[in-house]
């Protein structure tokens, strides 16, 4: 069950596309990208979630890591999250800490 993530820096916005299944084995790859983004000066994270089929609590922890690394006021957008992943976010209360949108409004890529 493969996972891949690709990062694009748009000024101080890091757009990361997630693909596949984010379990504990894959979470390290995601964290690495978040770490890179923070080191490259990202002040906002936009995660493209449409191709992410599955997310375990390791994925949630990676979001916590992102906020710790980039600062508590960092906006994290989740775009196109599937129903089951949304359910996990809501069940655990993590939906309070991110901004979920169905589709990408290009204005969120500009900071």
């Amino acid at each position: 069950m493969a996972f891949s993530a690709t990062k694009t820096m748009l000024g101080s916005v890091a757009q990361i596309e997630l693909v596949g299944e984010l379990d504990a084995a894959a979470a390290g790859d995601f964290r690495k990208l978040v770490d890179e983004a923070a080191n490259e000066g990202a002040k906002r994270l936009v995660l493209m979630m449409a191709a992410l089929d599955y997310m375990a609590s390791a994925g949630l922890r990676a979001l916590v890591f992102a906020k710790q690394k980039m600062g508590a006021n960092t906006d994290i957008y989740l775009v196109g999250t599937n129903e089951s992943v949304m359910e996990t976010l809501e069940l655990t209360g993590f939906h309070h800490s991110v901004i979920t949108v169905a589709a990408l409004d290009p204005s969120i890529l500009q900071l």
Binding site: M1, E21, D23, A24, A25, Y54, A56, S57, A58, L60, R61, L63, V64, K67, Q68, A72, E83, S84, E87, T88, L91, T92, G93, F94, H96, S97, V98
Partner: protein
């Protein structure tokens, strides 16, 4: 009853998930409950690997069993890492806290409890047994 033995390593999460999804599909479990079951088993398997084995400096196997009755599908994870009852953890009461304030730990157990109709733990024959049961839809 179907069984699979895998090394207690994070790389085993993928074959474990494949096994769970396979038996769930064969048992007629629908997509969303099957996702939740996979998540529950994945979370506990992750805890077994990281907290049962790796943190104790041990290696070993995890055995996963699947058993179907007319009404239920039961998945059991068996391992021989040090005896640990996941229900001895404190209930994560911080669900309404924001992400940054959250204490990490126990989330996996929470997702397991909420993901299946019954999640329970037993210590049997020197092995931790984590047991997940889901209801099957009425069979035609």
């Amino acid at each position: 009853m179907a069984s699979l033995s895998v090394p207690a390593h994070l790389d085993s999460l993928a074959p474990i998930a494949e096994f769970v999804v396979g038996v769930a599909t064969a048992a007629g479990i629908e997509r969303k409950p099957a996702y939740r079951l996979r998540l529950a088993v994945d979370e506990i398997a992750t805890n077994i690997v990281l907290h049962g084995y790796e943190e104790n400096g041990m290696t070993g196997e995890i055995i996963i069993h699947a058993e179907t009755t007319a009404e239920t599908l039961t998945i059991t994870l068996e391992d021989k890492s040090p005896a640990f009852d996941p229900f001895s953890l404190e209930e994560p009461d911080s669900i309404d806290r924001s992400l940054e304030e959250r204490p990490i730990g126990g989330l996996g157990v929470f997702l397991a409890v909420r993901g299946v109709d019954e999640y329970r733990y037993e210590y049997r024959n020197g092995a931790n047994c984590n047991i997940f049961t889901v209801q099957r839809p009425p069979q035609a």
